[in-house]
Amino acid sequence: MAELKKDSSYEMGLHQEQLKGRTQQKFFSIDESANLTYFHSFEVDTNKSATIDALDMTPREINREIRALMESGIGNITVDNPMSRHGVGVGILNRLNLTFSDSLGYFGCGLIDGPNVHIKGRVGWSCAENMMAGTVVIDGNAGSTFGAAIRGGDLVCKGSVGARTGIDQKGGTIIVGGKTGAFSGFMMQRGRMIVLGDAGMNLGDSMYDGTIYVGGEVEELGVDCVPGEMTELDVRYLTEKLGNYDMKAPNGVEKMQKYVSGKTLWNYDNLEPAEKKLIL
């Protein structure tokens, strides 16, 4: 281990504290199964299918039914008549092929880690918030705060999305087939955002990492967001990524503009990888 420099802060005793994981020691129990498994993650068989008619169901009933089907090993679930209800398809932590035959409301497919979701309609605000892994593909338009704070996976909207797309994005990829609204990429921290149409004002405001690609016009860049240089790697990445979803940039990916952070967060790159993971 490298010698710590004895500067004034060291002399003040700020580096001598012994961190022992006190919170974990206090609350962790080896007898609790939740500490040893990924709670509510199920083994499913993608050869087994089931359909839910959600016409007269509450969001809670829909989510419980999805969970019950997963628990019984069903790997393909179709939800008919979701009727734009809020908060459905959330908290799914395993592989699953999930199809909604119509639109969802707010917070659809939030907090997921692994499923492949297809929504044959529109989604309301905050779709796939905090997504960890998997794919969510929306055929129609999406509301604001699309993909807020996602950490992984692909979130794809074939239509246009509202304001603050990818706010606080921490990883993964957001793809928008049409326009995106104001403050998209606000406080973006990592990951990629691909917008094939126009972007509203304050794009990438206060972002400190990550990459935004825009195929159309940008109304205005936000603070800290600057144009980046498109490389051959970017072109290859965009071609392959869009190809996965049968999408194309209207004027070709070579003509897309790349945007990155023009300012490094103080001490951001000095953090060790493990520490970065804690923060992000």
């Binding site: 734009s84 409301g105 707010y106 604001s144 304001a163 326009k179 004002m201």
Partner: protein, 312 residues
Amino acid sequence: MCGIAGIIHKNAGKDVNIGEQMTAMLQALKHRGPDSTGYAMYGEDNGNNVVRFKVAEAADLEGSFDIHAAIEDRVAAVNSRMDDLGAKIVKKESATEYSHRYEIQFSGDMKKLADFVEDIEGVEILSIGNSLELIKDLGDAAVVSEQYGLNQFNGTHGIGHTRMATESDVDIRSAHPYWAYPFSDVAVVHNGQLTNYWTNRRALELKGHRFSSNCDSELIAVYIAERMSQGKDLESAMKDSVEYLDGVFTYLVATKDQLGMAKDVMAAKPMVVYEGDDMIALASEEVAIRTLFDHRIETFDPYHGEVKVWQN
């Protein structure tokens, strides 16, 4: 939080049951605001002016021994003052003890009539118009609709509001919609918070405009009225308002033959729009619009600072 909704039929005449449609949409938005529900709906113009007014708050009925006598006195005073100014009352209806609907024939100064009637203690005019019916009361849409018989209301368009009280009291005075006094047939509903309410209110009061509540949303109605009094059309007035109003908001305005929506420059408050050939429906959430359809529909979110106006 609050929920707002609107609907306008373009080619259907005036025989569409918009009361039932508005109730379905507003009931679907109940979770956004259960405190009060209000409607501004536009029906048949039979040549008379429709005056909707209240002479007490619903809560007053439980809080005072002499309120019933006071209500009778106030109604009598309204009748007398209308008569004094030459307004002929041709029809009277009362859904509740405190809420009244008059059809009047009057060709004089409507502002003078409104001021004279509202000068009576406890009396507030909710709306005046040839086709506008503005109804608001405590409770959800099902309760208010039942109370006022709105599920039989035919017309061309309407706007509505479900309120979660944040800036002012839970009472009818603070419920939406707001009539754009003194303009007949203009009403506003709003979801959001206006941060320059008091500054702008004082400026408008100095110009002679009246505010009946302490609800920031009323500022929008009064401001639209102010701009229209200067000759602006609805769309221009609404575009001006996006710059004039500070805060986060989405609001709807309805006139005798138009429905408009405006969104703040931060796009901070929700609005979903369905734009069909014969009908436009708007709401804070798509779940409200879906109560009108049994099939998949295409909807979209308007963008920051956007103003749209539709004609029936």
